[in-house]
Symmetry: C2
Subunit: 88 residues, 2 copies
Amino acid sequence: MKYHAKVIVTLRKSILDPQGKAVEHGIHSLGFTSVENVRVGKFIEFDFEARTYEDAKQLCTEVSDKLLANPVMEDFTFVVEEKRERSQ
Amino acid sequence: MKYHAKVIVTLRKSILDPQGKAVEHGIHSLGFTSVENVRVGKFIEFDFEARTYEDAKQLCTEVSDKLLANPVMEDFTFVVEEKRERSQ
């Protein structure tokens, strides 16, 4: 079965986010001065094969934990969906 | 009213994604060889004030279009949620 995964990797709340601060400054410069607590993360999506939905979630957890996120500083969440072929 | 926005910025399908290719190579090295079509994007979240939900969506659209995404190469999607204070 083909699956599609969307992973979001964010810095832990306790870690300072200078990139977020820079974006916040830029947003304020546009005139949107009420914007605050800007945090910047990564978004990664990919397709893959797995036998079951459980296997698919397991693969995503391993890929996120071992490669996409740095577990010391970052958290991750993901969504896995079955990918239907167009012919179906 | 306080709102919380989550914005995802992705490269358009027609634009090559070398960062995604590099991540794909890394995932293959971990042994997950069925993974393909890896695409890397940005995730940005922030809090802000707006009078109505319509105003909140409008602010998100403007911020995404003018600052977070490069409309020539990137697409964006966002979710806006009302932020409830803990005291309520």
